[in-house]
Structures are given as C-alpha cells and as structure tokens.
Symmetry: C2
Subunit: 600 residues, 2 copies
Amino acid sequence: MRKSIATVCLSGSLTEKLTAAARAGFDGVEIFENDLLASPLSPEEIRARAADLGLTIDLYQPMRDVEAVPEEVFVRNLRRAARKFDVVRRLGADTLLVCSNVSPQAVDDDALAAGQLGRLADLAEEFGIRVAYEALAWGRHVSTYDHAWRIVEQAGHPALGVCLDSFHILSRGSEPKDLEGIAAIPGEKIFFLQLADAPLMAMDVFQWSRHYRCFPGQGGLDVTSLVRHVVNAGYRGPLSLEVFNDVFRQADAGSTAVDALRSLIALEESAGISTLPAPVVPSGIAFAELATADPQPVTELLARLGFRRTGRHTGKPVELWEQGEARILLNHGTGTRSEGTALTAIGLETPDPGAAAHRAESLLAPVLPRRHSGHDVPLDAVAAPDGTELFFCATRRPGHADWISDFTATVHPRQPPSRDGAITGIDHVALTQPWHHFDEAVLFHRTVLGLRPHESVDLADPYGLFRSRALSDDSGAFRLVLNLAPSPAAEVRTRAQHIALATDDIVKAARRIRAAGAELLKIPANYYEDLDAKYAFAPGELDTYRELGILYDRDESGGEFRHCYTATVGRVFFEIVQRTGDYGGYGAANAPVRLAAQRR
Amino acid sequence: MRKSIATVCLSGSLTEKLTAAARAGFDGVEIFENDLLASPLSPEEIRARAADLGLTIDLYQPMRDVEAVPEEVFVRNLRRAARKFDVVRRLGADTLLVCSNVSPQAVDDDALAAGQLGRLADLAEEFGIRVAYEALAWGRHVSTYDHAWRIVEQAGHPALGVCLDSFHILSRGSEPKDLEGIAAIPGEKIFFLQLADAPLMAMDVFQWSRHYRCFPGQGGLDVTSLVRHVVNAGYRGPLSLEVFNDVFRQADAGSTAVDALRSLIALEESAGISTLPAPVVPSGIAFAELATADPQPVTELLARLGFRRTGRHTGKPVELWEQGEARILLNHGTGTRSEGTALTAIGLETPDPGAAAHRAESLLAPVLPRRHSGHDVPLDAVAAPDGTELFFCATRRPGHADWISDFTATVHPRQPPSRDGAITGIDHVALTQPWHHFDEAVLFHRTVLGLRPHESVDLADPYGLFRSRALSDDSGAFRLVLNLAPSPAAEVRTRAQHIALATDDIVKAARRIRAAGAELLKIPANYYEDLDAKYAFAPGELDTYRELGILYDRDESGGEFRHCYTATVGRVFFEIVQRTGDYGGYGAANAPVRLAAQRR
C-alpha cells in the first residue's frame, strides 16, 4: 500500500521534513497546519516542492471544533472552512481532516452534527475537496469511530467520509470485538487511515497522545489487527503515520523518517498485506570487533582474561583473539584517540547469512560496502541504528564461506579446560544507544533479526536512571542488551559498551584473571551483608564473592546469576558471567551497586 | 522543626549526598538502602561522616514485604530483619521504615499483620531500634494510613509506630475529610513524616511516585494541610523529604539540596509552623542589565528602538539607556565573547528593598556582595537559581536611596509621545532556565518574591517542545516568564533571553523602528491567511500586520495581544508588545510560528 507520514512526526522546518520523508522512500505526506503556518513557502510552493521530491500531499490537518454547534457559530465555522478548503486546493491535496468537536459549545445531537457536516461537505465539493471526519478519543460528544461513522452515514454525502486513527481507537482499551464495527463501514467511505502506536501507560489520554505516541511496533497497541480490519473493509488509501512524540521532535529527521518507514514495512508484513524474506535469527555471536588507536591496554587485558592471539588478518591490521567460542577482533586500522577503544562491529552467527542480509535490506537496514582486500571472504553486513556494524557470518561451518579463513593462524586456539574457569563464549553484548534512537534500535533488532524484546527496566546510576532493554532469540543462544543514558547531556560520559563472557566456574575464572594481573571491579562490603540478609549461602561462599567482587542474583525459578567486571578501557569493559538453571536475566538488581562502583 | 532529606532525593555518591545536605543546612538524613549498599564506607564510617558534617541519621529505609505472610516466610523475614536492625544500630539511627507488603504472598489479615509486626518490634527493641510502618499507596492489602494505624494500634507495641508519607496519602485524591483520621493517631505513635509533592497527573500511581515526585510547593498536592494535621496530632519528629525524581537524580546535588531546604522553609511558613519576613512583591521592572564584550551591535539596536543613552555610571563601565519607564543598563565591564550579549541582572522595583532582601535571605537566596565603587548607592541583591542577579530597587522615590543617582546624566531622558509608538516600559522579561532547575526556579520566584505562577504551557519549536511558565503579581504590573529548552543538549543553542517592551501603538512603534534601520522578524504569509480565517479584521489591518511582522492573539474575554520581534544579539532579543483589554497571556498560540521564524 502507499505509505505516508504526517509532518508533525519529524523534526525541523517543513522543507527539512519533506526532504527527510522523500529520502526515506515515503510516497506521500500529511501537512500539519502548524508546519504550513510557520513556513515561508506559499501553499503552491509547498506543492511544487513536494512534487519535485516525488511526494503527494495526501491530507491537510486538522480542522477543529466545526460541527454540532449553534447555527450562528456554524456560519462562522463555514467561513473559516472556506479559507482552509482553499489552502487544501492550493496544496494539491484532496482531503481535509476534521476532528470531532471538543469545545463546550458543542451540542450532543447527532442529527445536528450530520446536517452541519453535510453542509460542510457541500462547500468542500465546490473546492473539489473531501472531508474526513475523525473521532478524537477525548471528543466532547463523539469519541468512538463507530459513532463518527453513524453521523457520516446519516449525512450521506459523497464528499464526507471517516478518518480512522489507530491511537484514538486502541487507546480506549478496545477489545477485539470493538474492532468488528469496522467491517460495517464501506471501504470507500474510509477516506483515511492514520497509524500510531504507544507504550501502554495508565495516564491521561490527551497527554499520552500528545507526548508518547510512537511508530507501529514500538509500543503496546495492536495496530496490526486494526490494519487487518480496515483493509478487509476495503480501504485502499495510504497507510499514514501520525505520531506526536517529544523525542522525535528533537531527533534528526532523516533517521526518524527511515525508522518510520521501517515500521510500516514491518506492519504490512505482520498484517499479511505483504511478504518479506523470512527473518533469519542469529544463533550466537561469532565475534565482537574492537577498534582502537592504541591496542596496548586492551591486548594486555585480553591476555589477562585468558585470550590468545590466534590469527592476523591477511590484508588488514586486524588481530583475532580467541578463548573457547569467544572471539574478539582487534582492529588497529580504525578507531580514534578521542573515542578510545570502542566496540564497532558484531559478527552474528547466522544459519543463512545471505538470506539474513536480504531480510535486513528489505527493512531498510543500510547495507555496508563489502570489505574486500586481497582474498577476503565477502561478508554481508548492515549498520544498526547506533552505527554498530552487524556482520552475518558462518564460522567454521562446511558449505559456507568462513571469515576465519581471512586470518593467518599465529598459534593454535588452545582451550583450557572449562573446569578451570576458562571463558567458553560470549554471553551477550551491551550497547549504550544514542539518546534519540532507543525505540528505533529495539524495532530494528526485533524486525531485522527476528529477536524478542524483553521488558524495559530502569537501572539507577548515581547520576541518573538508565533505561535498559534486552533482546534475545527464544533459546537464549543470542542475547543483546540496549541501554539508554539518562539524557543526551549525560551520554558523552556514559557511552559504555560491554562484552559479557560466559564461564562455567566464575570463582576459578576470577582467581585466574586476578592471578594474571587484571583488577576486578571492587564491590562494597555492604552489598555482601545485604546478600547475606536475603539468601542462605554455603559457609565461606560469600567471603569468596566479597574477595573477588562477584555479584549474585537469583530468580523466582531458583536460577542463579554470578557476575564480575573488569576495568574499563576506552569505552569498553568486560563482564564475566556464570548462569545456572533457567536464569534468563542480566543481574539488573545489582546494577545500582555496579554502576556506583564504576563511577568511583 | 528539624529538617531531613532522604539520600534518594540527591544525585551522586552517598558522601556527595551527605555533603550537599549538610552544606544546604539540613539537620539530618534518611539513608536509602541502595545508597548504603553502593557505598564503600561501612555503616560506622557513614555514621562518623554524617556526625562530622553535623547531620543525624534519622531513618534507614526501606524494608519491604515483611508482614502478613505465612509463618515459615515470616521466620525468614525475621532473620533478614535482624541483619537490617544491626545495620541501623551501626548507623546510629533509631528507626527503620517498613513498607506495607506488596508481594503476592501477603494475606489480607490484620490480626496476622499486627501479630507479626509486634514480633518484629520485639526484635527491634533488642537492637534499641523502632519500626515505623508505612502504607504504600499500592500496598497489596494495606494502602491507606488509617489502615496502617489500625494494625499498629492493634499490635500495641512501644517500638512500633506509623510513618506518614504525603505522597502515599495525597496521591489517592484525598478529600479534606480524609485527613481527619490523622487526629486519631497519638503524636508519639507517628514515628516519622515523609514529605513529597507531585504535579497532578492522571497516571499509574507507582510510575508517578517513582519518577515525578517533587519538593513541596512544586506540585499540586496539598502538603501544607497534611503537615498541619500531623503537627496538630502532636508529631514532633523531623520534616523529612523523600522525593524520587528523574531530573533531580541527574542534577547537581548542591543546588538540589538548597532547593529542597527552601521548600521546607516555605512549607513551615504556609503551615503556620514558623513565620518569615513577609513577601514584598515587586511592582515593576526598574531595569534590565545586559553584559557584553562588544557593545556595538546592542547599542545600535537600542538606538533604533528609540532608547537614548541618558547616563554613565560614576565608577564602572556601565551605561544607562532609557525610554519611558524602560531602562536598560549596558555593562561593558563583564560579559564574554563566547557568551555574547546576555541579560545578567534585573532591577525589581520594590516597595521596601530592605525587607525584600530580608525575605529572600530567609529563603536561602544567595545574597550578593553589594556592589561598591566610589559613591555607589548600596543595592540589596540576590542570585536567582539561573544565576540572574536580582536587585531590589526604588527608582526616583523620595525617602529611598536611588540607584540612578550613581549615574551621571549625559542627556535628559526625553520621552516621545506614546501616540507615536514610543516604548512606555518593560512588559516582561523571559529567561531560558538551565535544564535541571526549572521547578526550582518557579518555587524560588513564587516564595522569595511572592509571585503567582501561571499554568505551564508547551511551545512547539521546530526542534523540540519548550516548556514555558509565567509568574506575575496579581495586578500584572510585574511579569516574568521562565522557559525550559527541550533537553540539556538543546540548551546551548536555545538559551535565548528576551526583554518585552510595552507600547500603546505597535503599528507606529514597528514603523518607527524599521525607519530607524532595525529589521523586524519576518512572519510567513500563511500565518496571516490563518488569522484571516479565524478572526474578522478591519480593512487593511492584516496587510499592515503582514508588512510589519506583527503577530496577533485574542483571549476569551476579547482582550488582544499584538507583538513583534527584533533580531537576536548574542543571547538576547527584544519583543514589542501591545496589550488591550484584560489580555493576561504572552501570545503562546503564536510561539510555533515565531520560533520557526527565529530558526531561519
């Protein structure tokens, strides 16, 4: 279906917004009135600019407080409407959105509303315009789509139809049966469909609508079902996003527009309107790549963690470090002094790398130029919203190109027995996201990689609350954690990234690492007294944890999580984790203590 | 009364928090458990640090999910409690807060709750500790203070009392009569009183409590009535703040602590517990002072606006510019190149400058050293939270020292007739506030200057929503507008300040200013077409506004507001405003168009 976006979704001037929408690949836009009023371009110039960019103008909005009013008020409203119809005509659009009346002047009289909307439609016809009537969730007398439709049906005017808005319909807590009324509306009388999602929040619906809407798939409303119902009713107009969001208002319009279009592409798939290449869920982390301008501190740390340098890239200044199934690429060829050592790429162990890349591309993931130099194995790669490069890999798998073959072995990967506390693999990777792109990142990883997002949790840092959200495959073989700093200003000092390394015996691992000369993060004694109050431990167990800085958590199933931390090098630190039972979390309960310790 | 603050109110490490609380002048603190767990100091060391700073530790909190549970669970809880009582004892505190149980294990059985809380109190007594039992608004079975008191009364144990929390009590939408039950609680059984306010929001009470609490007087809860009831019941413990707030978590602990203590001082006054010097409400703006490292652009603009340089300071590089009752001081002796021209001080025309300063000092306003040089008239001045200097002045008033006498007249202040569009005075000053101190600034100006805050409004800038809140005296003779940029990151490019100049004829004023060579902000034609759709104007009226860039607003009483804008010099621009009728606003409806125009 055609895809549109309301200009209010994007940051900037009207022409910035149009440019961003066109670049992302939208077909059309809704012009929000304030954007027109604030623009130095005339309606004709806006029309020409949009046409030049390949965009249609699908709707002008909103006109408020028109119908179901005393006659003398309605006469004034008709005068106002005539000016607006003229603007719509000059924009080259064919539809004006009229919201249900919220003013105290409105009367609870459907016949009056239908009569006046009919007269409005008469006037609209003179301008060659249609009127799409929308029930606001907080409309004074008309607040549901079926009520709006009854009034439109009663008016029986060819230039009058309804506009359905997913937020206004679903924010009222609609049951599945509440959507059944949509089938009663002839498709050609649904003049427009506006789409927005929102996180489930118990709050005033007006404030919720004005500040917290998000793109479909980023919140908790069942936008997919709504779209299915509307398409089944015969609607053939555009899928159009109308999202009021305080964060999007500040974010770069270009990336918001891409995020927006991705949400519609995924929505079409989930609603069964279109098909995409099926998701290829990663089965593990093939490697994590660190870029550094000064490899000394991080190589020293890797060695102390028990990694060995097992290979050198044949054509680039990249080293391969291995321990068990944990592989770190150390790239000396990129990375800057000011940034420090940073995690720049992740290799995703993928059953079918080509198909995974194809899926990603269909969801607008920026495809990266294949890195070729000498005899490189070509790797499919895309950029995540935070700029992290995601490589789709098959490691040492017959029948697939093996990225490791680009490396000349320097020593044989030797694996100390896991009973000695060796690292067995990468448990997860945690990335701090740029402030304005957290929801975008969750949507990206969910739709592109087919991962399941877990609940968002707050983590109390001494200088503000972090938001944290994990994504994983169903088996927990692939885990990724996205963190969000408390504010854009806080971001610079808190853009930490970390690699969590798995072990089967964290006590031996911690002793081994300390014996090798690495310091582990010191955890306060008070923390261990609290653990002792909460849980019963074996004699001496807590003393060991206190000595080594090991944190402990237990979930309701009795699954356990033990973890400890290295110092930070550049932006990167390592966590060592041991999971037992069905523990599926990340030790969030310990985060305040860990974050405070890292601040010291 | 003694004044305390919970460590969770402040940003930073535990020792940063203690230092900030002591510096601000608090008597004691509540230690929040997470702050203790994350601290490298032992409880004994924390006790010593607090004592060294002159702070008592009044409460340790919270202990959760203790009471009304099956016996085997309670036995485990007693073991946990013993460890916590030991921590409380080592901290030198005498009270542990126990919150009503929220876990699914809790049973709805008051007798069981009372029995188990009694056994808990038995154990507490062995440690010399008291237990204060608090009803959380979302407690599973106990969610009101009177229910908590019934259980405590039933237990009848000397070491068991209640903790009253203003948020938990008032967030449930309490009617005045709901507070009457407080009188039934003997004062000595109210072991603790926790205070927090919150903006009135229709949202989930748990999220509201955890993210949006604020200091008393910054929100919409009637904390004053609650305090009156509790003091009347005989409570003599500390007034203690417990505020969970996402912004305070990020803000500088030092200024948050001062803001916090100011809120309690004002609360004691409003509750009739103490008296302060009465507020002396400003009756106008005596002057606005601009600091600049390059006076050329701003002097040129002032001249074009019709100001004349009427005096030079006798001892400092400061010029006085006048037009009507509008006075601008131009200070060449301060101001930096990077900052550009900035508004650094406001003279408040005050009936009794000495009394005003005395009031400000009693509310912790930082008193500024009197500016003396040569024969300066000493002026009382304090710093507002954003650093703006506020001078309490009497201008040309017999019986008061006149600040103008420090200036040598260069020309006589000549006032063009107001029918020619002269500036008659300063209508208001608008200041963009540092991001973390918006609520603090509103509380400061309300309590220190006795101003009335108006509703907060959102203003849509192309790159994010601004928050804006005006304060004024009851007559509207003194008006101040505080703005807040969308995020700390946005602040740098949006720290604009402006001075609104009053005129009786904005059309003549605008023509005069343009004729003098100043450009006025260009407003798009689309805006005027919308005005034309909304209102009926006299023939030619709108054309004039369009030509001159004059914006128009009308309120429900028919009062009108016409305004236009100069270019920005450094951080400062001027607005010219004409009010008619009872218009009391600031043209918020026009802000999106104005802000977009300023961005171009």
